[in-house]
């Protein structure tokens, strides 16, 4: 009886999974086609023979290994610094007693909803002034702050519900604020921080506009910008674009699979609260 009840759910889940995987599958089959095959049979047919030139050509054309490294360096650094910044901010707002807490939070939410297009010119001029234009460091700084705005907002509410008893107990034992942060708050909220880390990494990985504007030279380019190289003025190379899409998405998928447990754990922790 119980098994019978499960079937509709199972079917719905399978349908959902197919729906999610289908676009990736289409990218995959088109990445393996030759351009002539694509033009003759359209995007939905199975490839007639394996054609890997799209993948290898794209790899060498944009020096993909180097681009990948850039993306990993930028996204990785942003994830780490973003989380550190968020924790420090949220500790002050969520647990510490500061005046105008709500206004601070409102400020961070506001910073969060600000469209990036509005930031482009100010950031361009600022980075030029301090000599950071066209360096990966400029992007790391910018995105650490941008992501930390969201992180602060989220963590502040999480830490706002942090059990006061633990902190009071620690204080009685003679811990100062610094020790409370690193010995109590951070270890206890580690699952949430893990989730933030993963999110920051993937969000930064997918960023397009700011890397495009701030990193003009190919040596500093990120993966998402490199994908744009294929966008011709009037023509598009459909099979190579698919190959590039595949190469661009793979690292993020691998990263997600590696940290899948962190993610589910984080969500589960949130659910109990």
């Amino acid at each position: 009886m119980k098994a019978l009840k499960r079937y509709p759910v199972l079917v719905a889940m399978i349908l959902g999974a197919i729906f999610m995987v289908l676009p990736l599958l289409i990218v995959l089959i088109n990445a393996l086609k030759s351009p002539a095959d694509y033009s003759a049979h359209g995007p939905l047919s199975l490839p007639h023979g394996l054609h890997l030139d799209g993948l290898t050509d794209f790899w060498t054309r944009v020096n993909f290994g180097h681009t990948l490294l850039n993306s990993v360096v930028i996204s990785g650094s942003v994830a780490v610094f973003g989380v550190i910044l968020s924790v420090l901010n949220a500790y002050a707002i969520g647990i510490g007693r500061i005046k105008g807490k709500a206004y601070f939070l409102a400020f961070f939410v506001l910073a969060n909803v600000l469209p990036q297009e509005a930031l482009v010119y100010p950031l361009y001029y600022l980075s030029k002034q301090v000599g950071l234009y066209d360096t990966r460091l400029s992007l790391i700084i910018v995105f650490s702050v941008v992501q930390a705005a969201f992180g602060t907002y989220l963590l502040s509410s999480v830490l706002g519900a942090f059990p006061k008893e633990i902190i009071e107990a620690a204080r009685i034992d003679g811990a100062n604020s610094w020790q409370i942060l690193w010995r109590m708050v951070v270890p206890v909220s580690r699952p949430t921080l893990g989730v933030l880390l993963v999110f920051f990494f993937i969000w930064t990985w997918n960023e397009f506009l700011l890397p495009l504007v701030m990193l003009p030279s190919n040596d500093n380019q990120t993966v998402s910008v490199a994908l744009g190289v294929l966008q011709g003025q009037r023509l598009m190379d459909a099979t190579m674009t698919n190959a590039a899409g595949l190469l661009g998405a793979l690292p993020a998928i691998v990263f997600f699979l590696l940290f899948q447990r962190t993610l589910t754990r984080g969500i589960a922790v949130g659910a109990v609260k």
């Binding site: 002539a36 003759a40 950071l132 460091l137 190289v229 009037r234």
Partner: protein
């Protein structure tokens, strides 16, 4: 558990530190104007005619400039389009760059003072003698950034124009005669329709549809009409004979089934693919398709200029521009000069491109010969009429939505022309 995590956290911190250090390095660009490096950016695919020819140019440049390094970076069209004004305004500007022609692009940069005036070099190297007048229109911009007169800011290496591509096999199979006049063209369309074949490939969501429209208007137009519309040298009236005829004819063609109503949402790519896959026997579009058709068409095909029209869409190709902040300008001029020489121009022509200064006798491939002869014919009779979306910023989207209305029948030709007039008047500079 905690013991295991401690080293992990340390490792993460160490990694972050290392990342910061690596990201600090390698931000230095080459020394200032040492005359030893040419920083070159373009956005043509490496297997396209331009990509092949320019690679050869880089090799020749290295030979004639021993000790000079060429730092070539392949860019995307969108990337250059979106970031050009910022990059060129910084010290990271390249020495030489391919850039899109037109008022909204090269004209705007020229107006902002971000490009080097090439007029002295043009006369010194004699580039102007290699280019026909309608090709040079897009090279020169006045103080307001309007093309057609003023200083030289860019040098085109290639030309582009539109033509009728046709599937010879389908013509033969359906017993349709290849047309030489406009009447015969319409008869051919009707003959295909009678056999149950929709003759014209079309993409209503992008440029193909309004290129049909503009070409139909051009059958009734002359140079002064084009100058009024494109260069603001007179009043552009969308209810004149040419535009009215064009809108009526296009809507008529849809009603007669020469253009499928379902193509109103199709992209240019879809239109091209419907020709390549042998579904549509005729596709009117630009020379930029030529190389792809040559590689991928599995049937006999050919091209001809739009019948009974002295003018057709087209212009000089994208420009070589030298940014104001370029450090090695002389090297950039030398490189432009190499690309204008016969050797590179002939390579361009033999790989499916449309060179502006090739020797006809050196073009060995017969279909390329046809392509280039047709371009020279149009260019010699001063027949390049540019593109309809050029005169006004954002006009492209207006044209797309207007022609979509014509195709779906949700707007009468008259209403559509009203819409175009309104957008044009709102955007055109008043002088």
């Amino acid at each position: 558990m905690l013991k295991v995590r401690r080293p992990l956290a340390l490792a993460a911190a160490a990694l972050a530190g290392a990342m910061l250090i690596t990201s600090c390095g390698s931000s230095d660009s080459g020394a200032e104007g040492d005359g030893k490096t040419l920083k070159l950016w373009h956005y043509e695919a490496p297997n396209s005619a331009m990509g092949i020819a320019w690679n050869q140019a880089i090799e020749e440049f290295k030979k004639s400039h021993p000790g000079v390094k060429v730092e070539f970076e392949a860019k995307g069209f969108e990337q250059i389009q979106k970031t050009a004004s910022m990059v060129l305004n910084s010290s990271n500007a390249p020495d030489l760059m391919e850039y899109n022609k037109g008022n909204a692009t090269a004209g705007l940069l020229a107006k902002q003072g971000l490009l080097t005036d090439l007029t002295p070099q043009v006369t010194k190297y004699g580039w102007d003698k290699l280019l026909s007048p309608s090709v040079t229109t897009t090279s020169r911009y006045d103080a307001k950034g309007v093309m057609g007169s003023g200083n030289w800011y860019g040098i085109p290496n290639f030309g582009e124009y539109t033509m009728v591509y046709y599937n010879k096999d389908l013509f033969a199979k359906n017993g349709v005669k290849v047309p030489t006049t406009f009447n015969e063209f319409e008869q051919a369309l009707a003959a295909f329709k009678a056999k149950g074949v929709t003759p014209l490939a079309n993409g209503g969501a992008e440029y193909p549809a309004h290129q049909y429209l503009y070409q139909l208007a051009l059958t009734k137009a002359d140079r002064s009409w084009v100058d009024s519309f494109e260069l603001y040298k007179g009043k552009a009236d969308f209810h004149d004979a040419a535009w009215t005829y064009a809108a009526n004819t296009l809507s008529d063609w849809v009603k007669k089934g020469y253009i499928a109503k379902t193509t109103s949402g199709a992209k240019a790519e879809d239109a091209g693919v419907s020709f390549i896959s042998g579904k549509s026997p005729i596709f009117f579009s630009g020379s930029w398709w030529y190389g792809r058709f040559r590689d991928e068409n599995k049937f006999q095909w050919g091209s001809f200029l739009f019948p009974d029209s002295k003018m057709t869409l087209g212009s000089g190709g994208n420009l070589w521009v030298v940014p104001k902040n370029a450090k090695n300008k002389q090297l950039a001029y030398d490189f432009i000069d190499i690309t204008m020489k016969k050797g590179i121009q002939n390579t361009l022509g033999n790989n499916g491109g449309v060179p502006v200064a090739a020797e006809p006798s050196a073009i060995t491939d017969p279909s390329s010969k046809e392509l280039i002869e047709n371009f020279n014919k149009v260019s010699d009779q001063d027949g390049l009429a540019f593109y309809p979306d050029w005169p006004v910023p954002g006009f492209y989207d207006v044209l797309v939505s207007a022609t979509q209305k014509l195709i779906t029948g949700s707007g009468t030709p008259d209403q559509v022309l009203d819409e175009l007039q309104k957008a044009y008047d709102a955007g055109a500079p008043t002088s």
